[in-house]
Subunit: 182 residues, 2 copies
């Protein structure tokens, strides 16, 4: 198993759909369907993204998700931390303090500084986080735009509009139904 789960991949793909201007914010269910992802999993992910302040949810029949910041201001690291929680590469358990030679009293030269092993782990974690922080939804979207044919975005917008039209019709019908049989 990898260090980071599939949730990150779903989150980033779904966020890329809403990184483009859309006439109406899609629901997490619509994004899941567009991305071919399990709807409850995507709903849970969007709950976390909202909590982390990366997306805003609007309520109501026409409600859905929008990015809370510009795509250039949302890094891959933001998404990783939002979905997986801020996770250290390594939690130093201060194993060195248990050395039998210290007889329960680690000397100052050992206890008073960062363990050399921990220092290496901190540097490695920082290098990874720096790299994840360099990529944003903006840079990912630009990369995608360089590869995809020009009509791809419009195609996605039409797909979402058709899907959300169906959703709205169904919801309006359900509301009318409820009024008729209260």
């Amino acid at each position: 198993m990898a260090h980071l789960g599939t949730g990150i991949e779903y989150a980033l793909h779904c966020l890329l759909w809403i990184a483009q201007p859309l006439p109406k914010p899609p629901s997490s269910r619509e994004l899941a369907a567009l991305q071919g992802a399990p709807a409850p999993f995507v709903a849970k992910i969007f709950g976390k993204l909202e909590k982390a302040g990366l997306v805003d949810a609007s309520a109501g029949i026409r409600g859905g998700y929008r990015l809370a910041r510009a795509p250039e201001d949302i890094t891959v690291l933001d998404v990783v931390d939002a979905v997986e929680g801020r996770k250290n590469l390594f939690d130093c358990q201060n194993v060195r303090s248990r050395c039998a030679l210290y007889e329960g009293q680690p000397p100052d030269w050992s206890a008073g500084s960062v363990c050399g092993i921990h220092a290496v782990m901190i540097r490695a974690e920082q290098a990874m986080r720096d790299e994840l922080g360099r990529a944003t939804l903006g840079t990912l979207a630009a990369g995608l735009a360089r590869k995809a044919p020009p009509e791809f975005d419009a195609q996605a917008r039409r797909w979402l509009a058709a899907r959300s039209g169906t959703r709205d019709d169904a919801r309006v019908a359900a509301l009318k139904q409820r009024k008729r049989f209260p």
Copy 2:
């Protein structure tokens, strides 16, 4: 929970003890006792380190572990991979291929290249691995030697010699006992 477990910390601390010249290779049980670590856990770790070719085990009453290479040739990354197994930062599930717009047939422009998200993860993983690969048992030992008082290594050698003397006496006694009552 961190991405890397406590096994790494125990492994590195124990390996640092055998990175110095010792009159006799200590057993994993002796290293565990010196490091104040659970003996079965350290035994399991040393099994992995041996399998990865980082330590050599010699058998017999005077048997124990030695580094299989110079401390400068064993990186923290070698130890991490040996103890945790080579683990990717991210396993790309190729989520993009499930996009509803492709209708089951991802186009060449999408399928024929590395996903932009995966590319970011590969760069981040590489940055982390580069940093872990830069530190060796040699650099860690040198860092420790700069902090520890000059007599520290000799103290550890005396501790191990006393411990392994006790072990040898016990084993020889057990062997004699066995010969007496076969």
